[in-house]
């Protein structure tokens, strides 16, 4: 977890959790050669069969234009997409695992919020 007051500038996708802050975490060995990483981007692809862009992963790129092209090269190789969005991971505000209980548990018992009490017409797609 990040220490209080750390600069939330850098993010990484290691561990498969999506964007995770790395500020305050030692990232390189002391005294080694300087090797700055490109910033991290999150990639969203709209598939041929989908109406919305879906998060497919992340990548490193030097700027927005390169991120878009890297997204094309890494995530649309198998004919997946017709549109790509990329966004700097640092621009995403994410809910914290610490907030999971107050955020999401209260909706767990509100069965009346689900549309289970009326029939869905068969010709309405994409619900």
């Amino acid at each position: 977890m990040k220490p209080d007051g750390a600069d939330p500038g850098d993010f990484t996708a290691e561990g498969g959790h999506g964007a995770v802050p790395t500020a305050g975490v030692p990232a390189a060995k002391e005294g080694g050669p300087e090797r700055r990483e490109w910033p991290l981007y999150e990639v969203f692809v709209r598939s041929r069969r989908g109406l919305n862009h879906v998060h497919v992963g992340s990548l490193h790129a030097a700027d927005d234009a390169m991120a878009l092209r890297h997204g094309r090269d890494v995530y649309t190789r198998r004919n997946e997409g017709v549109s790509i969005w990329v966004v700097r991971s640092s621009a995403i505000t994410a809910s914290s695992p610490d907030e999971k209980n107050p955020f999401f548990d209260p909706s767990g018992d509100k069965v009346y919020r689900h549309p289970t009490f009326y029939a869905i017409p068969e010709d309405v797609p994409h619900l």
Binding site: R48, R49, G50, D73, V74, N79, V124, P125
Partner: protein, 312 residues
């Protein structure tokens, strides 16, 4: 979510999805990775009237060998690129070119089976593979630019820029070829090459405007590879004959366009046009190659040649 069948009145969602109407059966259930196309679907494969099959085959070998050898040089970059994303980008380009090579070598073999090396009876090796893996260096017809040994990252982006800029200019014109197969291959290739040229050009600009080290390396690669460019634009008799027959493109006709594109990229990168003198000699289109090709082929062909009856 299951695929839906709109009622006779139609749905508000009709037309929002690409190729919605074309998808039936299994294809409709996949969100990703369907709808693959055969670039030669429905194309007449007969050699057009009045075209000498040997001329067409020789021309297809030139274009096909350019793609095959450049593809192999790019594939040698696998796991060596500066980062994972760029590694995949180079591999994608290699696969695009390998696809073009396969179609072009198959076309050469179909037009004139005499160009295909003879393999032992019962060999299952298809003609395009026989051409790729069972010809010796002097039988290849690609330009020398695509065969010279790999260098650093600046080397690969400069080689790509030069090779792909010329190839794109040629294939755009080849879409009007009298040979419907070549026209279809060109139509597929133009989209791939447009992306590849953009990719290479962006890197040339980035390296040229980057650090002192990146600029130094880029200038080194330009000096090394620029002398090989004139060979791509020279009017070889094989290409001139194909152009005269209406099936090929005379590369001399694209020289002005290539110059303009390269000047634009060099200007954006703050780079001068290299002054190095062109390489002399007959060149790759006549089967005269460098020693680099022989060692590359020894590696590339060794497994296939050890098992001419093998199934892959």
């Amino acid at each position: 979510m299951s695929a839906t069948t709109p009622g006779p009145a139609g749905s508000a969602y009709d037309g929002l999805l690409e190729h919605d109407a074309d998808l039936t059966g299994d294809a409709a259930q996949w969100a990703f990775g369907t709808d693959f196309e055969d670039p030669l679907a429905g194309v007449d494969t007969a050699v057009p009237d009045g075209v000498e099959p040997a001329v067409l085959a020789a021309y297809c070998l030139m274009l096909g060998d350019d793609a095959l050898v450049l593809s192999h040089r790019l594939s040698q970059w696998c796991s060596h690129a500066p980062d994972l994303e760029e590694d995949i980008a180079l591999a994608n380009t290699a696969l695009d070119l390998l696809g073009q090579a396969r179609l072009l070598l198959a076309r050469a073999a179909a037009a004139d089976p005499g160009v295909v090396p003879v393999l032992p009876a019962g060999s299952p090796v298809p003609p395009e593979d026989a051409l790729a893996f069972f010809r010796d260096a002097e039988q290849f017809r690609h330009v020398r630019l695509v065969e010279v040994e790999n260098g650093d990252f600046a080397h690969v982006v400069v080689r790509l820029l030069l090779a792909v800029t010329v190839r794109l200019a040629v294939l755009v014109r080849l879409e009007d070829s009298r040979d419907p197969v070549l026209a279809a291959i060109a139509a597929k290739g133009v989209k791939e090459l447009t992306y590849q040229r953009d990719h290479a050009a962006r890197w040339v600009v980035v390296l040229g405007q980057g650090t002192a080290e990146s600029r130094r390396r880029l200038l080194g690669a330009l000096d090394e590879l620029w002398p090989l460019l004139p060979e791509l634009l020279a009017r070889h008799p094989g290409e001139v004959a194909a152009a005269r027959a209406g099936v090929g493109v005379d590369p001399g006709d694209v020289a002005a366009e290539v110059d303009a594109v390269l000047d634009q990229v060099l200007a954006a990168g703050g780079l001068d046009r290299p002054a190095a003198a062109p390489w002399e000699g007959a060149g790759g289109r006549s089967g005269v190659h460098t020693a680099d090709l022989a060692s590359m082929l020894a590696d590339m062909q060794s497994v296939a040649r050890a098992h001419p009856l093998g199934r892959w």
